[in-house]
């Protein structure tokens, strides 16, 4: 897990080499970080890998079982359903959110908005809202007792479905994550657009380029790298989804089970089932899947760089 891919981030240029006298001074500055890094990041991963290779049996106690826990996970229908939920969010909710973020970033960058700074600031506010509170707010609004949906149904005799019914609960969840991160992604993309030197637009205007040509030839390429970064964050967020469904569970106990997402499954395996070894295997498996996804995204992003 430690060798997972970065986010397409580049290494800053090296500082000038120093004399041997100061060879170890750098460790003085980096040492504290690395020490705690080893204790809180590297050690748990190693410990989890170790746990995932064992099984606690009633007879015979703790015994080495090789990859057996992983094979169980591959055939576990509960894990499949959990994985299916987050994959669906990844392939439906994330593209919708990214499209909205991209349009908003382009609109901000176009300088054609009135009160642009109000949009820029307000749309980013949800990022500062804890995911627990986001889920609580939307959960209340979805709710059938005093939610907005119930209000609308009774006020104008609509028959809007209950957003927390089993057919819609994923969409309801996707709406919460979209609300939380659409502005965050917009700011990342907008920053990338702002880094385009202005003379490039002037040159395009002199050449008689249309607005769409400018977007396709200048703006979209400028956003590509930031888009890959944003997509990697969204991929991680989807695969590791926990807080929002776990909070909504109390409002929709019949539609959100204890294994709704892989992380909820791992959590409940450990804390309600005492199946620590299997939970560790699920956590490591999800880590590996996340890494592969992040790496594939970056490869895709880089390949287009070569063109």
């Amino acid at each position: 897990m430690a060798a997972s891919p970065g986010l397409g981030l580049t290494t800053p240029p090296h500082a000038r080499p120093r004399k041997a006298r100061r060879r170890w001074t750098g460790w003085g500055f980096l040492g504290p970080f690395v020490l705690i890094f080893l204790f809180t990041l590297v050690a748990p991963v190693i410990y989890a890998i170790y746990l995932s290779l064992y099984r606690d049996k009633l007879i015979g106690g703790n015994s080495f079982v090789g990859l057996s826990n992983y094979l169980t996970a591959i055939q576990d229908p509960v894990f499949h359903t959990a994985l299916f939920h987050v994959l669906l969010l990844l392939f439906v909710q994330v593209p919708i959110m990214m499209a909205l973020s991209t349009m908003a970033a382009l609109a901000l960058d176009s300088s054609r908005l009135y009160v642009a700074s109000i949009f820029r600031m307000s749309l980013f506010v949800p990022y500062a809202v804890p995911s627990v509170v986001a889920a609580l707010m939307w959960g209340f609004m979805y709710g059938s007792t005093f939610g907005l949906v119930a209000n609308l149904n009774s006020a104008i005799h609509l028959h809007l479905p209950n957003p927390l019914a089993s057919n819609y609960v994923l969409a309801a969840l996707g709406n919460i994550t979209t609300w939380e991160f659409v502005g965050f992604n917009m700011i990342i993309l907008y920053s990338a657009l702002q880094s385009v030197p202005k003379d490039r637009y002037e040159a395009a205007a002199i050449d008689g380029a249309t607005k769409f040509q400018v977007i396709r030839a200048i703006k979209v390429p400028a956003m590509r790298r930031a888009l890959v970064v944003a997509l990697v964050f969204a991929l991680i967020g989807s695969f590791q989804l926990f807080a929002e469904p776990n909070v909504l569970k109390s409002l929709a106990p019949n539609t959100i089970g204890s294994a709704f997402t892989p992380n909820m499954y791992a959590y409940n395996l450990s804390f309600n089932g005492q199946e620590f070894n299997y939970a560790a295997a699920i956590a490591i498996a999800m880590g590996i899947i996340t890494m592969i996804g992040a790496y594939a995204l970056q490869l895709g992003g880089m390949r287009r760089d070569d063109r």
């Binding site: 897990m1 430690a2 970065g6 986010l7 981030l9 800053p12 500082a15 000038r16 120093r18 001074t25 003085g28 500055f29 980096l30 504290p32 970080f33 705690i36 890094f37 809180t40 748990p44 991963v45 908003a104 176009s110 300088s111 054609r112 109000i118 600031m121 307000s122 980013f124 506010v125 500062a128 809202v129 804890p130 627990v132 509170v133 707010m137 939307w138 959960g139 609004m141 907005l148 209000n151 006020a155 609300w179 990342i188 920053s191 990338a192 702002q194 880094s195 637009y201 002037e202 790298r225 930031a226 991680i236 967020g237 590791q240 807080a243 909070v247 109390s250 992380n263 959590y267 956590a283």
Partner: protein
């Protein structure tokens, strides 16, 4: 002098990008664009407005009124008082715990990231390449993926259900270290440090009196990021803590909301709503006040070409 000027211009380049030249690139304003963005603004602000409006209602008028308008007796201040007094004042305890985790965890993470980022930017030392590769790799490791393994390990050491179990994992912010590293590389000219060394200043003194001052904007950005991350943290404290005494606000609030529908439980939706509003107020205010810093930080981190 020359070095100073470069430092200032490097810092200026990444902190403020306010004014745009008036030219072909500043076209006429569009009502249509503004209206479409207005829809997004409504979408973004509706839940916040809902929270604000409903924090003024009593439990009874919550269920009998339209969600996006005021109704019943104005009980905003009553709700706030009730939020703080409910359950022997556990909300205040959770708020103080949250502050403790933010100060120790978020503050500590920022200091470690600043020292480390400065070290990576301006020193060469044995093992540097390996450290750089591992840290860049670690940015993609989500904290939640490690929560269960970290719990299992911490319980071996008897650290679970103590504040340390929340603070220690919060101390590491690979993305923060990366931002400082980029920032320190850009904003501190090596020549300036070399000159200070020739004058015989110690490395620590050089860092405190020159380096730290030049990367202050980057430091504030990372402080903001870690502040929000620790304030909003849910999965880690939920796993690590079992007694409500050490809960942060996030875990406490979700506990309140869980207890409401349970049999015999007193309905306290008005307290959950008011508590939620109180919980988001500090982060939102800090974010809006310090927005020029996070903008600079995101610009430095995500748009390197």
């Amino acid at each position: 002098m020359n070095a100073d000027a470069r430092a200032v211009s490097a810092a200026g380049r990444s902190t403020g990008r306010k004014s745009r030249p008036i030219s072909i690139t500043t076209p006429r304003k569009s009502v249509l664009f503004t209206l479409v963005m207005g829809l997004m603004l409504i979408y973004t602000l509706t839940p916040v407005a809902w929270l604000l409006i409903n924090s003024t209602k009593t439990q009874n008028s919550l269920s009998s009124s339209f969600g996006l308008w005021f109704s019943g007796p104005f009980s905003f201040f009553h709700n706030i008082a009730a939020t703080f007094s409910y359950g022997n004042g556990e909300f205040l305890r959770w708020a103080l715990n949250t502050v403790l985790y933010v100060v120790l965890g978020g503050g500590g993470a920022t200091i470690l990231a600043t020292l480390g980022g400065y070290g990576l930017a301006h020193f060469t030392f044995p093992g540097k390449r390996a450290v750089m590769a591992i840290i860049i790799g670690a940015i993609a490791i989500p904290g939640t993926a490690l929560a269960v393994p970290a719990y299992l390990m911490f319980s071996k050491f008897g650290l679970t259900n103590t504040p340390w179990s929340v603070v220690i994992p919060s101390l590491i912010s690979p993305i923060g270290l990366y931002l400082i590293w980029v920032y320190a590389t850009e904003a501190i000219p090596s020549g300036l440090l070399e000159a200070a060394r020739l004058d015989g200043a110690s490395e620590l003194r050089i860092f405190l009196s020159i380096g730290f001052r030049l990367i202050l904007p980057g430091f504030v950005t990372v402080l903001l990021l870690t502040f929000v991350a620790t304030w909003n943290n849910y999965f880690l404290p939920l796993i690590m803590l079992s007694t409500p005494n050490w809960f942060p606000l996030t875990v406490g609030l979700s506990n309140w909301s869980n207890q409401a529908p349970s049999a015999g439980g007193q309905l306290i939706d008005n307290l959950v709503i008011t508590g939620s509003l109180l919980a988001i107020t500090p982060t939102v205010i800090v974010f809006l006040l310090l927005q020029r810093y996070w903008k600079a930080g995101i610009a430095a981190g995500s748009i390197k070409e």
